[in-house]
């Protein structure tokens, strides 16, 4: 087993080095700058202990917890429908849930305002609704990538032993699904915990989370010390969540019987048809209405309905240094590069984590989800200013920061799948003389390919839609689509708003097509 052990250490080294260099180092640089006073480095106990900080932490935590519960409540029925049943348009539904994920928050918030009843457009309820809208994809796709491959004989056996539907849910489904559920819940919680645009726009100025307050201190008041203190607090809170969820996932995880996806799916029967139709209908309403409003806006030109705003994407504009369609090309290229990096970093980390535990690596790779984008951006500026790391103004930083945000998803999606593989399979292969590499290629890879496909889809979508960190490193002559959308939204006039909507729809279409393709390839190849 020594060869395998060395391989695992090597596998852990690359992700660790990547995250240390591009995340820990710049973040440490800016935190040190913020917290170093005349007398040297000092922990900011006065900020951390202030009543207002505790209030921030409290609101941040409970809105994230409430949003996570709401997302699970909304997403699990949909996950059930796409995991257990075959129906026309099933793959499209699975791809479409990912669309909200890539849209810039300001675009979504605008679309939400268009469909929310007047008077209820601000406050806690819209925050929850928007978080559900964004994160349903996390629950549906992560849980269903696992659920849809569970051997249906599990339930058949339980049923033949006399267990009713409720008991089967409680004693078979939930325990078996616990690892992906934990992963999805943890990711949703972290996303809501560090939510920014949703809180600002839909929460209103009276509501602040740690993330919005860090931005406020760093970007407006330029109180770097307060911003650094709050960043430390946010990182600590996120680290705690990560440790707890990783431990839970590990404790609950284990080998489960898997089957090819097409064997696990069946057509809905009797009352199930009503349930399936109901779940799909309600989901279409919440997820589809804001998107439909966007499509409508992109077509509704000053001279009537048409493709005018789309055609205008080819023209030069003063808002950007390049014609807007360049942004589409840039986004695709950056997202491809970022996806490749995220799969390499996250995949290797997942392999090490699934086999060795490696809790420190797990936490390190996940931690970028808990960092404030503005602080990381400032950190880049002061950390990468000297050769050999003079990266300021380098276009390479765009896929790098996008991969930092995407890699945690790869880890959380791939690791539970790797753990679900029966160790006996690997041992059997090894006994039959397969090298560790061959065991990986012929046992692990086919069984986790589905998860890798889901992870790739997420990584691509996240990279495509990433704004908070990208805007700090994007070059003006290399804008991405979200950056271009913001340029248009920052200017008055119907044409600018229309082009922003058109670019948003292009983002939606791109996501759908790429995710459909990724799903198709991995479902076919992965089910052998």
């Amino acid at each position: 087993m020594d060869g395998r052990r060395a391989a695992l250490i090597a596998a852990a080294a690359l992700p660790a080095a990547f995250v240390a260099l591009f995340f820990a180092y710049p973040l440490a640089a800016i935190l040190e700058r913020g917290l170093t006073e005349d007398g040297g480095f000092e922990l900011p106990w006065d900020v951390l202990g202030a009543h207002s900080t505790l209030e921030l932490l409290w609101f941040t935590t409970w809105q994230a917890a409430a949003s996570t519960l709401a997302t699970l409540a909304f997403g699990l029925p949909l996950a059930w429908v796409v995991s257990r049943f075959s129906f026309p348009g099933r793959s499209l539904v699975r791809a479409l849930v990912l669309v909200p994920f890539v849209l810039p928050t300001v675009v979504v918030a605008t679309a939400f305002l268009a469909v929310l009843p007047a008077g209820s457009e601000r406050g806690l309820l819209p925050i929850l609704a928007a978080h559900v809208f964004f994160n349903t994809a996390v629950v549906v796709r992560i849980v269903s990538s696992y659920w849809s491959r569970l051997d249906p004989r599990l339930w058949h056996a339980a049923a033949s032993l006399g267990a009713g539907p409720a008991r089967r849910l409680r004693e078979v489904t939930l325990p078996v699904l616990a690892p992906p559920l934990t992963a999805a819940a943890a990711l949703t919680f972290l996303f809501c915990f560090t939510s920014f645009g949703v809180i600002l726009i839909l929460g209103g100025p009276g509501r602040a989370t740690l993330e919005t307050e860090i931005y406020n201190q760093a970007a407006r008041a330029f109180d770097l010390r307060a911003a650094a203190a709050l960043s430390l607090l946010q990182l600590a809170a996120v680290a705690l969540v990560l440790v707890v969820s990783a431990a839970t996932e590990r404790r609950l995880g284990g080998a489960v019987p898997l089957a090819p996806e097409q064997d696990a799916l069946r057509r809905p029967r009797g009352a199930e048809r009503v349930a399936v139709a109901g779940v799909l209908g309600v989901s279409a309403l919440l997820l589809g209405l804001p998107l439909a409003a966007l499509v409508d806006r992109s077509l509704d030109g000053p001279r009537g309905y048409g493709l005018g705003f789309y055609r205008a994407l080819g023209d030069e504009t003063a808002s950007l240094l390049v014609p807007p369609w360049h942004a589409v090309l840039n986004s695709v290229l950056f997202a491809c590069a970022a996806t490749a990096v995220a799969l390499a970093v996250g995949g290797l980390a997942a392999a090490a984590i699934a086999t060795r535990g490696a809790p420190w690596l797990d936490a390190l790779v996940m931690l970028p989800l808990g960092a404030s984008a503005v602080m990381l951006g400032f950190g880049f500026v002061i950390a990468f200013d000297d050769p050999p790391l003079d990266l300021r103004g380098s276009a390479w930083l765009v896929p790098v920061v996008q991969a930092l945000v995407a890699a945690p998803f790869v880890v959380r999606i791939v690791a539970p799948s790797l753990r679900s593989i029966d160790e006996a399979l690997r041992e059997a292969a090894a006994v039959l003389g397969a090298s560790p590499a061959r065991v990986w290629r012929e046992v692990d890879l086919p069984l986790v390919l589905r998860a890798v496909g889901v992870a790739a889809g997420f990584a691509f979508a996240i990279s495509l839609g990433e704004f908070g960190a990208t805007v700090f490193v994007a070059r003006a002559d290399w804008p991405t689509v979200p950056v271009a959308i913001f340029s248009f939204l920052g200017r008055p006039g119907a044409v600018n708003a229309g082009q922003a909507a058109a670019l948003s729809v292009v983002l939606m279409a791109l996501t759908t097509v790429v995710v459909l393709a990724a799903d198709r390839v991995t479902v076919r190849r992965g089910s052998l």
């Binding site: 100025p205 240094l321 003079d390």
Partner: protein
Amino acid sequence: MTISYKAVVVALAVAVGLAAAGCGGGDEGAPEEVVLVTHDSFAISKPVQRAFEDETGLRLRILKTGDAGVALNRALLTAGDPEGDVFFGVDNNLLSRALGEDLFDSYSSSELDQVDPRYVLDEEHRVTPIDHGEVCLNVDKGWFRSRGLAPPETLEQLALPRYRDLLVVENPATSTPGLAFMLATIARFGDGWQDYWRRLRENGVLVVDGWEDAYTVRFSGSSGKGPRPIVVSYASSPPAEVIFAGKPLDEAPTAVVESTCFRQVELAGVLRGAANEDGARQLIDFMLSPAFQQDVPTSMFVFPVREGVELPPAFERWAVVPDAPLELPPEEIGENRERWIREWTDVVLR
């Protein structure tokens, strides 16, 4: 431009396969460049950029580093070891912060004698005025017309019951126009400004985080068709609505309430430690030249500081350049800004 674009596209496509993070490509053999560090709202027309490059033989690289606040703070973080040669985008409301941190080297452009002296805010010429834009209330003319109601003409009137729940403003803690509007009320009411905001609050003022949200979402006169017909925006917003309507309009759909305007001057400076100091000075000269000054209305919706520059027709017709906008000295703003924002927050949001 197209060649280097394609080259990098190819390079990136290769990188996709390699999936490795490397270092930025070298620019050997390229013409000497001058780097303009600025905020996201900066814009320049292509022909004007080319004119600069042809005239000076320098390549102009534009580095947008965030919104106005982020861009300035990022420049302050790298003071002395800057990301570029010129910084553009500090305004009179944040000027004290930039000057206090020793961000700029002095440079007195020979073009300054063409500039109205009231825009020159620093006698040491560490910063040079480039444009001015007024933050003013905008009203949706159609909304008021259809209800037979006269739009407000003064700040005082906003507190009247007939304008209840009609106003949307930006948070001064998070938004540049929001800050300017708060300063307008301080310039207008002096010590009574907090009472004024109490009355606005009672009259249902809506506070949002940023201009995008206020103008494109909540305001009824923009494409977002929101519910509120009075918004804090710019003196140039009505002509922008005409230019970017996508069809010819006989009339601007919105109007400026002239008595509410607060002046903002945007300034540029040579960054201390600039790699290309000479290029930086040439760029500042160019930004004051007629070519650039004529371009700022349509590219950035602001007004030239150079005298005798002709405005585009839509601006002549629909923009308002108030003769005597509300103003406060930059030093007074610098000394009190943070305290005022805290007091405003206590009065309006708590």
